[in-house]
Amino acid sequence: MAIFQRLANGPLAVNELAAVLPVSRPAVSQHLRVLKDAGLVVDSAEGTRRMYRLDPEGVARLRAHFDQVWERALGSFEKAVETRKKGESDAKDSRGNHRAKKRPSGRTH
């Protein structure tokens, strides 16, 4: 997505994007349309030219989605590690090692 990266540096017109990218102008236009429909890019008329720029709100929302995915996943990872460690030192069952592949603890079924 070189287009997106280019726009992150500032607003550009379609022909300016096509000039610096190894793709055709129609391909650039098509991709801009996708990004615009997705709410990640906005356009505006400046004189006779149509300028495209990133929509900061759209980008922030996409970022927030992944931020939350990983916040949650890493929190869960941390808990699994700590639970496993505790389970090993206590030699009792815990959620963290119920599927241990490499380090079965001394638990009994």
């Binding site: 989605h65 890493l74 639970t83």
Partner: protein, 163 residues
């Protein structure tokens, strides 16, 4: 320029009280023990999540009946320090095999002592999932969305502490 990268990269880190080898092992080889269960893309809940230990290896979930569902591929493999995975799941949690639409998740493990490991995660290229963004917006604007998910997580975490 810096703004470019920062805007489309998500960074997270966590410090765990185990040796680097163990942190890597739990993260990569026992992913199903900690991955949030409702974040599955197969029709059924996953029983295991497998990261094949080599560059080009598959990253996939497997349900109780042995059915596989791809998540991505291994782009870099340097245990126990680094694993980079391609992320093919847009905001709607559907797998798209097109590598051009996949983002990258790099997980670095740094030993800070005999039993302390820093785990740093960097998810870059998230703008490549822009095409699923409309559904994401709808999902995020819904009344349940992440608020409910986070509440459930808080409850589960609480149970984990007490149990």
């Amino acid at each position: 320029m810096l703004k470019t990268a920062e805007g489309t990269i998500v960074r997270k880190s966590v410090r765990v009280g185990v040796p680097i080898e163990q942190a890597f092992s739990v993260f990569v080889e026992q992913m199903e023990t900690w991955w949030p269960a409702e974040h599955h893309i197969g029709g059924k809940a996953f029983e295991s999540i497998i990261v094949e230990p080599r560059v080009g290896g598959r990253w996939y979930e497997r349900d109780a009946e042995g059915k596989d569902c791809d998540w991505g591929t291994v782009r870099a493999w340097d245990p126990p320090r680094l694993v980079t995975l391609t992320w093919h799941l847009g905001p709607t949690w559907k797998f798209d095999p097109d590598l051009a639409k996949a983002s990258d998740v790099a997980i670095r493990f740094t030993s800070e002592g005999p039993s302390t490991t820093l785990v740093e995660l960097e998810h870059s290229g998230i703008e490549r999932h822009g095409e699923g963004y409309e559904q994401l917006r709808a999902a995020l604007d819904g009344p349940d969305a992440w608020t409910r998910t986070l509440e459930e997580f808080a409850k589960a975490a609480d149970r984990g502490v007490r149990g």
